[in-house]
Amino acid sequence: MEFRTPIKQARGLGASHHGAAHWWVQRLTAIGMVPLMLWLVTGIAANAGGGYLDTISWLGSPFNAVLMVLVFGVLFYHAALGLQVVLEDYVSHKGVRLALVIAVRFLAIALATAAILAVVRIAFFADLRTAFGG
């Protein structure tokens, strides 16, 4: 005997009004990454082979630091969404799939945080070097 109403079984399974959110953010981050990646590859290519100080001053300039923070935020958001779709398509075991999707999301957030902190540290450090002459 089933006492629950049909709505009870539908709740939590699908999002109303937010169903396209994953798809939409995947596209937003994709559009954002086009100029970011063109800038990143050009910037790295132009500074390739430079020494420590060249790299620090390039990464630490305000313009480049802001773009690098954006790169890491957008890149890992995009990567986590994309990997999630791949896992959902190819991993048939429900528990393993959920565990992998969670692991990918956590790893992406951890890597983005580490990279962004590194960029911020370089930006402040480069600034202090200039302020104290050295």
Binding site: R27, A30, I31, M33, V34, M37, L38, V41, T42, I44, A45, A46, A48, G49, Y52, T55, I56, L59, M68, F72, L75, F76, A79, G82, L83, V86, L111, A114, A115, L117, A118, V119, R121, I122, F125
Partner: protein
């Protein structure tokens, strides 16, 4: 409800994938490879933040010939994903589904990726 007459999806072991299907699965594979490649980018930035010694170690590893060859391949994979991604965005907007157009845009994505890769490495070398 009978499902017998529904079309079957291609059996991947015996079905030769058409060009557009190859560009499609390559988009996924390149995305996964780029996710792995992003670790190198994180390592480079974190090493730079950690100080001169850590950066020298990283620069020596990243500058070695095998890693440089990997980076060359990685550059192409990145630009393929970028160009083919634009192709997907055009599809999302509702254009370019005709077979001939889809084939042509796939060729353009590969060609564009090759050109961008060469430009990037010419900038890097000179």
């Amino acid at each position: 409800m009978s499902t017998d007459s529904r079309p079957l999806s291609p059996h991947l072991q015996v079905y030769r994938l058409p060009f557009t299907a190859l560009t499609s699965i390559s988009h996924r594979i390149s995305g996964v490879l780029l996710s792995a490649g992003s670790l190198v980018l994180v390592y480079w930035v974190v090493a730079a933040a950690a100080g001169e010694q850590a950066y020298r170690t990283a620069a020596a590893i990243l500058g070695s010939l095998p890693v440089q060859l990997l980076m060359f391949a990685w550059t192409f994979v990145l630009f393929y994903h970028l160009c083919n991604g634009i192709r997907h965005l055009v599809w999302d907007a509702g254009y370019g589904f005709e077979l001939e157009t889809a084939k042509r845009s796939g060729q353009m994505a590969i060609g564009g990726a090759a050109v961008l890769t060469l430009i990037a490495w010419l900038i890097a070398i000179f």
